[in-house]
Subunit: 243 residues, 2 copies
Amino acid sequence: MESMFGHHISAQYNEELEDLRNRVLNMGGLVEQQIADAVTALVEGDGERCEQVINRDVNVNSMEVEIDEECTRILARRQPAAGDLRLIVAIIKTITDLERIGDQAEKVARIGLHLMEMERPKNRYMEIYNLGEHVRHMMHHTLDVFARLDPEAALQVTREDKNIDNEYEGVMRQMVTYIMEDPRTIRRSLDIMWSLRALERIGDHSKNICEYVIYLVNGKDVRHLSLEQMENAVRSRSGRKGQ
Amino acid sequence: MESMFGHHISAQYNEELEDLRNRVLNMGGLVEQQIADAVTALVEGDGERCEQVINRDVNVNSMEVEIDEECTRILARRQPAAGDLRLIVAIIKTITDLERIGDQAEKVARIGLHLMEMERPKNRYMEIYNLGEHVRHMMHHTLDVFARLDPEAALQVTREDKNIDNEYEGVMRQMVTYIMEDPRTIRRSLDIMWSLRALERIGDHSKNICEYVIYLVNGKDVRHLSLEQMENAVRSRSGRKGQ
């Protein structure tokens, strides 16, 4: 799919589009790191690392603003059509989701600081570690999907989100049982639940990004469709692809 | 600010932009109704109304997809510049937030159905009703801001979000106390907390929309700024306004 873009007579325009995609991938890389660091910091009770994640969120924010400005600049100067236009629109949406993933990572780090004031649970936050790992993998795959503009891989990641939702529902039910058994730990349990919810939301944002890639490559808006409908949309390929 | 757009020689282009703004306002009106209905249905334990809200969410979703397509079509055919371009970009972002506000309203309605299976609390979900009313007002003001493209009013709404956040924090603390006093009501209390959180997130999305309006009118990206910095940005007016 690399050849979908970079076909312009203007070498500078090609470079601009390529540069834009690289910037999105860099922003995604930073956000992925933020998730990993936030989860590790929380699980290990590492306050310094929590602070680092919180402070680094401004970098994520300014990357979003810069990429956004560059998109508007290209729209105004290059007046892109068809595939290029869809690329720019997809990027404008993608960076919004990346920025919000960054916010969720920051939230996990803040809860990490809060949890440090309480007794560590016997399982050492195993449920947060596990869900965090799954979400981080999903995020990594999402960046691959964006880098390779691969709608089939996008479908796979969308399926991962279903698993993450199921895992999330399961551990949330477990947390409710813990609170009922020992209400004195409610503050800690609620903090754990907020962290789990933040991680689950990262899964949703990753899924959004995958849907933008499908739209970008196939020209089909697959948001709000069931998984089965999405698969049909991607595989029929009768859409506006390559228009 | 109405005259900011509608200045094109092509009468049809003017109509397209006007039509686009009206569609966003219609979508916003539907979403506002969804918030009101979801909160009333939950508070009154009205299952039928909960179902209605849940079923109507597909209408919100299809409005988003249609407006999105219209934006891409205008970008491709009209190749808008400056203010018009910012309008289109702001609309692409606004409808994403409106759609997610709709998702939160649907979530409140689903929790409403769930709560019907449990005993009603003595205060008849007063905390949800109150926060719901504030959020619905904020949403209404946000649509006014968008209709009048008024950055000063946008600042005011942004301040309302701060109040909503404070109210939310207060009632959440109260809920924790309730659970500790009577852990048997934890399921109901958690449902109430999830509803409150959904409402609080609607406030965040409304704030996002106000920030897009400031960007649109003043050409300044005010996301990630403090309230004070935002005020300076709006009032200095040394930006790219009307460019």
